[in-house]
């Protein structure tokens, strides 16, 4: 598609700068000494803003903006976003895209954090401005449409609706019956007028759809307002709460106390202990108490994903969890070391240089849930359990070479419950690795978004507007009924192609 300067792509044919110069040109007939007033900067600004408004109100420009926004969003969808702070180079991105592409194109254009770049936000702002102005312009149009100015029409007027036809009737009554059946039966409401023996009809259907579509456009403004309010006045924090401890946002406010955190496993989906480590738990839950500022218990609730806690205007979402498993090493019966096991971290055996390398795959703690024959829920507590697939003894002085393999706990599966131990020998010493205890934490995301109500209201209007406006389209019909000797000639036209087809089919059937 080649765009020419005068292309009627919906853009103005007379760019504002030409109009300004035209207005400042002196009159061609110089007989009069009067000249047109010169335009000041303010006048030029007003004209400029008006032209900008006209441009933003143009439907085709709005469609272009929609596509530009879609194209810009594509970068943010396909490329990894926010993998590193903006002013740093991410080595993984360099590896994925090459230094040239990443440093010279992706980074400068902000394609690795598209949604927070100025240019993306500018396009978004432009789009919302366009939507608002379009909606405003169409509000006036639809309001004008609601007022009937004239019902009178002509054959040309009927045909201007693009979907038209004609029928003949022996008398006026049968013609009116046909109009009743084919048009009013399809939801058109008619206004009529008689002039010079001819009957003029103007019909409308689903005028409310026009209003619904206008409302839908205003809803985007509401959504943006809600988003801005949420962004400016919203608040969030992470509450990492150990069992038995409380979290509060500050003095004078109430607090949330974690009573218990656990994972749930459905008995039929998790038939044995090993399955706990092969699949995801069926749920994660935190039982909490809400306390007032004086520490009195107000309520008790279970928080889980999709079921947050509402408290003091804040919402608490189950986001993550943490465990602190405490292990101890006994050398020849005496405590040599006590440590928190972290995945793949080596630990020294007492005061020797021998390092115990204990990778564990997962830790679980929770409830095994099942339903009995009566459908009642039964629970079986699962003690803190971890799985250790391998243990290595490494002599740090000699490097990372495994020195001696160690027998795994239990029956070789490596499932290790709280209180259990693994015995092993190294040299002439006897060692015991004991899983002593485990602290459990829940991690709740705490948020307040004052704009979300406005956003959801905007969503509601948007959904109603889109559904109503598109499913029940607005239609106009014009009918001209004239008499020619003994025949009544009816010219009809309707804006909806589907309705026109349906009327023609009906007319063919009757013929």
């Amino acid at each position: 598609m080649i765009l020419r300067a005068s292309d009627s792509f919906g853009l103005r044919r007379n760019p504002p700068i030409h109009r300004i110069f035209k207005m400042t040109e002196p009159a061609k007939n110089n007989s009069s000494k009067e000249t047109k007033p010169e335009l000041g900067l303010f006048d030029i600004l007003i004209i400029g803003f008006k032209d900008l408004a006209d441009l933003l109100m143009d439907i085709r420009f709005a469609a272009i903006l929609l596509l530009v926004m879609a194209f810009a969003t594509l970068f943010g969808t396909v490329l990894p976003q926010s993998t590193a702070p903006r002013d740093t180079i991410d080595p993984k991105m360099v590896e994925a895209f090459g230094e040239n592409l990443y440093v010279k194109l992706i980074k400068p254009l902000g394609l690795d954090h598209v949604f927070s770049t100025i240019w993306y936000r500018f396009v978004l702002l432009l789009l919302v401005a366009s939507v608002t102005l379009c909606a405003w312009a169409r509000t006036k149009t639809v309001a004008a449409l609601s007022k009937i100015k004239s019902v009178l029409t002509s054959e040309k007027g009927v045909q201007s609706l693009k979907n038209y036809g004609a029928s003949q009737f022996p008398d006026k009554e049968s013609a009116l019956k046909w109009i009743e059946k084919e048009f009013k039966g399809r939801g058109f409401k008619f206004f009529s007028e008689e002039k010079d023996g001819a009957h003029h009809f103007l019909g409308r259907k689903n005028l409310a759809s026009k209003w619904m579509l206008v409302a839908m456009h205003y809803s985007f403004v509401l959504i943006l307002i809600g988003a801005i309010i949420g962004g400016l006045f919203g608040w969030k924090d992470m509450a990492v709460i150990r069992e038995g401890e409380t979290w509060s946002r500050g003095d004078g406010f109430g607090s949330v106390k974690l009573i218990d955190y656990w994972m749930e496993f459905n008995a039929e989906d998790f038939p044995d202990e090993l399955s706990y480590f092969m699949k995801m738990p069926s749920d994660y839950k935190s039982r909490v108490q809400t306390l007032d500022a004086d520490g009195n218990v107000l309520n008790e609730k279970i928080i889980e994903v999709n079921y947050p806690l509402n408290f003091e205007g804040l919402k608490f979402y189950q986001t993550a969890w943490a465990f602190e498993p405490l292990f101890a090493i006994y050398k020849n019966g005496e405590l040599a070391n006590r440590f928190m096991v972290e995945r793949d971290q080596p630990f020294k055996l007492g005061d020797t240089d021998i390092v115990l390398f204990v990778p564990y795959e997962q830790i679980i703690s929770g409830l095994k849930v099942s339903k009995n024959i009566d459908g009642q829920r039964t629970e079986e507590k699962i003690p803190p359990t971890c799985i250790i697939y391998e243990m290595k003894l490494t002599d740090q002085k000699e490097g990372e070479t495994p020195v001696e393999p160690v027998k795994l706990a239990g029956n070789g599966t490596g499932i290790f419950k709280e209180g259990e131990k693994i015995d092993f020998n190294f040299g002439e010493d006897k060692y015991e690795l004991v899983f002593e205890s485990m602290d459990e934490y829940t991690i709740l995301e705490v948020k307040r978004d004052p704009g979300v109500g406005i956003v959801f209201f905007g969503f509601l209007i948007c959904v109603i507007g889109a559904s109503w406006g598109l499913m029940l389209p607005y239609g106009t019909a014009r009918i001209l009924l004239t008499r020619n000797v003994n025949i009544w000639h009816l010219d009809w036209g309707v804006s909806l192609a589907g309705t026109a087809d349906s009327i023609r089919r009906s007319a063919n059937k009757n013929d």
Partner: protein, 311 residues
């Protein structure tokens, strides 16, 4: 007894297989009608189409029975749901618009898709992760799939129009897109509300969210140009096809790209990269068939050339 496949699983499997065979035969029957104009073949094709739809419904129903939940979580389930909804939409188009084009090519599209998913996607019922345990799941997925189904059938019309230049095909593709767009809006909105309930963020710029936004923007542009600017014919059909490509990108392509670029998203299916790629190849194959169908129309060898609305 241990080792025996439960009867409902068997029933699901059987109805699934018979369904795509019936749908393929339905396509052939319709094509005979197209080529030779034998009216009884149109009726037979429709009956077979209805039987195929009932069988797909039964397959979904049996799956619901043995899994204990609505089947709309795993890739296998979602693709089957999409196919089922396309069949229902095509039936609606046949009923209300007397449009036999929709049933012909939708039956072929869905049959081929079912053949594909049978061989490539995991059928065994998977676990429902905690994040999906919400009453919003069914509503959100169903509305999104309905919108995908509508625009997919609309795409078939747009493509056939470009080849055959039969006007009612373009009108048909527009109507289906206009039907699907509100459901897309409802689907995106319901997803946002669900995200707010689950994670406290109604819009997180997740790749799936932004991909659905792209799809919404493209179709919004299409509707604007068609409704307000009066675009018809070739321009509108091409725009419709671009919209369909954006739908494919959102539904399938994103999963593929997520695995290549290691994008983080809550919506990435677990199927491997190669399976998604083959699905895209399948879409291309279907597009080629529709192209051929459009050429047949254009050559004037069928009764559908002048009027798609048959009595």
């Amino acid at each position: 007894m241990e080792g025996q496949i439960p009867p409902l699983v068997n029933a699901e499997f059987l109805s699934f297989r018979i369904a795509y065979i019936v749908l393929l035969v339905s396509t052939l029957t319709y094509l005979v009608y197209w080529f030779f104009g034998f009216k009884p073949f149109r009726l037979i094709g429709k009956i077979l189409f209805i039987i195929g739809t009932i069988l797909v419904t039964a397959s979904i129903g049996f799956r619901y029975g043995h899994s204990g939940r609505f089947p709309l979580i795993q890739s296998y389930e979602v693709f089957l749901l999409l196919g089922w909804m396309m069949l229902l939409i095509a039936l609606g188009a046949d009923r209300f618009a007397k449009n036999v084009f929709a049933t012909t090519f939708t039956s072929f599209f869905v049959a081929v898709a079912m053949l594909y998913i049978e061989g490539h996607f995991e059928r065994s019922v998977g676990d429902v992760v905690p994040a999906l345990q919400s009453h919003w799941l069914e509503f959100h997925v169903a509305t999104i799939m309905l919108s995908y189904a509508a625009v997919s059938v609309g795409f078939l019309g747009a493509e056939a129009y470009l080849v055959s230049r039969i006007e009612w095909l373009e009108e048909f593709s527009y109507k289906l897109t206009a039907f699907g767009f509100p459901f897309l809006t409802i689907g995106i909105v319901s997803g946002s509300i669900w995200a707010q309930e689950a994670w406290g963020t109604w819009w997180a710029w997740d790749p799936k969210e932004t991909a659905s936004l792209i799809m919404w923007l493209v179709y919004a542009a299409y509707l604007h140009m068609r409704l307000v600017s009066g675009w018809r014919g070739t321009k509108a059909a091409w725009m419709n096809i671009i919209g369909f490509l954006s739908m494919l990108f959102c539904f399938v392509g994103l999963n593929w790209i997520s695995q290549i670029f290691k994008l983080q998203s809550e919506h990435v299916y677990s199927e491997g990269t190669s399976k998604m790629a083959y699905f895209l190849y399948m879409i291309v194959a279907i597009a080629v068939v529709v192209f051929i169908g459009g050429m047949i129309l254009r050559l004037g060898k069928t009764k559908l050339k002048n009027d798609g609305n048959q009595k």
